[in-house]
Amino acid sequence: MSAGTHADRSVTAQGHYAGSVSRFLAYAIDITASSAVFGLALAAISYVAKVVTGHEVSWNKGNAIVAAVFVAWEFLYFGYSWAASGRTFGMAVLGIRVVMADGTPVDPRRGVLRAIVFPLSFLLCGLGFLGILVQRERRALHDLIAGTAVVYAWDARAARLRFLARETEPVTSRPD
């Protein structure tokens, strides 16, 4: 499949419910990014603690406090992103956005609620995510509870123009 075909499809998909691949990739990017930031912050705190106390501080995944802080951080990461702009970093990369079920911009309280009930989709053996595949509006369990939906929201028309522009760009202007 050519890039042009994808660009055409993406233009017509604007405002439509986002599918499973885009949402999973966005989530994967978010988990990677948020974990990396958390890891860096933990390393920085450990270094400062070592300098101040003079003792080696070691954190591990079994530490209950670290786990609790990690959960809180993840909640803050997703909750704030959804409440403030309807999209996390990963969602911005994949060009998808959380909206209210009717398509209007997400209410901040609903964004926070979505972050609170998000783990429910995991706790039920991941069955909560099945809605993305089988539900008519591709809404997962946490979407149904929070009254939200996820849609394609990137400027695919501009992307299509960029694609056409690259195609029609004179060969002489391209570097060898």
Binding site: M1, A3, T5, H6, A7, R9, S10, A13, G15, H16, Y17, A18, G19, S20, V21, S22, L25, V93, L94, G95, V99, M100, A101, D102, G103, T104, P105, L133, V134, R136, E137, R138, A149, V151, Y152, A153, W154, A156, R157, A158, A159, R160, L161, R162, F163, L164, A165, R166, E167, T168, E169, P170, S173
Partner: protein, 164 residues
């Protein structure tokens, strides 16, 4: 030779007519005329059919006419803001075939130079691929579920273009 009696009679008649015309109150006479009824009886279409508009226009020196027109004064009287407010720019833009425009003009090169970049290109491609895979999986899900009625493609407000 003219009959002197006939000449005299003609002179008397002219004099009498003169006196009658002077005695008539024309304004009062006109006031008694029902102009609307008079105009209603005129067949304007038949009248217009008899007029050779082309011949009429041929006689008009349009250049001279335009030369007499003060276009600047005319434009000063036009409320461009009100005029533009009546134009549905969104509808106008929707009618523009951007693909053809980009292909047939140098606009493509301008866009490529202003918004190009490896990162943007990669992002566009990744998003496009993800949408393609989404739709592929969705098609299979629809087949497995054997849905008789197609699901709505998106939220109503977004499909109607009311929300972002």
């Amino acid at each position: 030779m003219t009959d002197p009696l006939e000449t005299l009679a003609q002179g008397v008649a002219e004099r009498v007519l003169d006196l009658i015309v002077h005695a008539l109150d024309v304004n009062a006479l006109v006031q008694r005329v029902d102009v609307n009824a008079l105009v209603g009886r005129v067949d304007v279409n038949a009248l217009m059919r008899q007029v050779d508009v082309n011949a009429l226009l041929d006689q008009v020196d349009v250049s001279a006419l335009l030369g007499r027109a003060d276009v600047n004064a005319l434009l000063d009287r036009v409320d461009v803001g009100a005029l533009l407010s009546r134009v549905d720019v969104n509808d106008l833009m929707r009618r523009v075939d951007m693909d053809t425009l980009v292909e047939q003009t140098d606009l493509g090169a301008v866009i490529a130079k202003s918004s190009g970049g490896a990162a943007t290109e990669a992002l566009d491609a990744a998003r496009g691929q993800a949408v393609g895979l989404d739709q592929f999986i969705d098609r299979w899900a629809q087949r497995v579920l054997r849905r008789k009625h197609p699901a709505p493609p998106g939220p109503p407000a977004l499909l109607n273009g009311q929300a972002e």
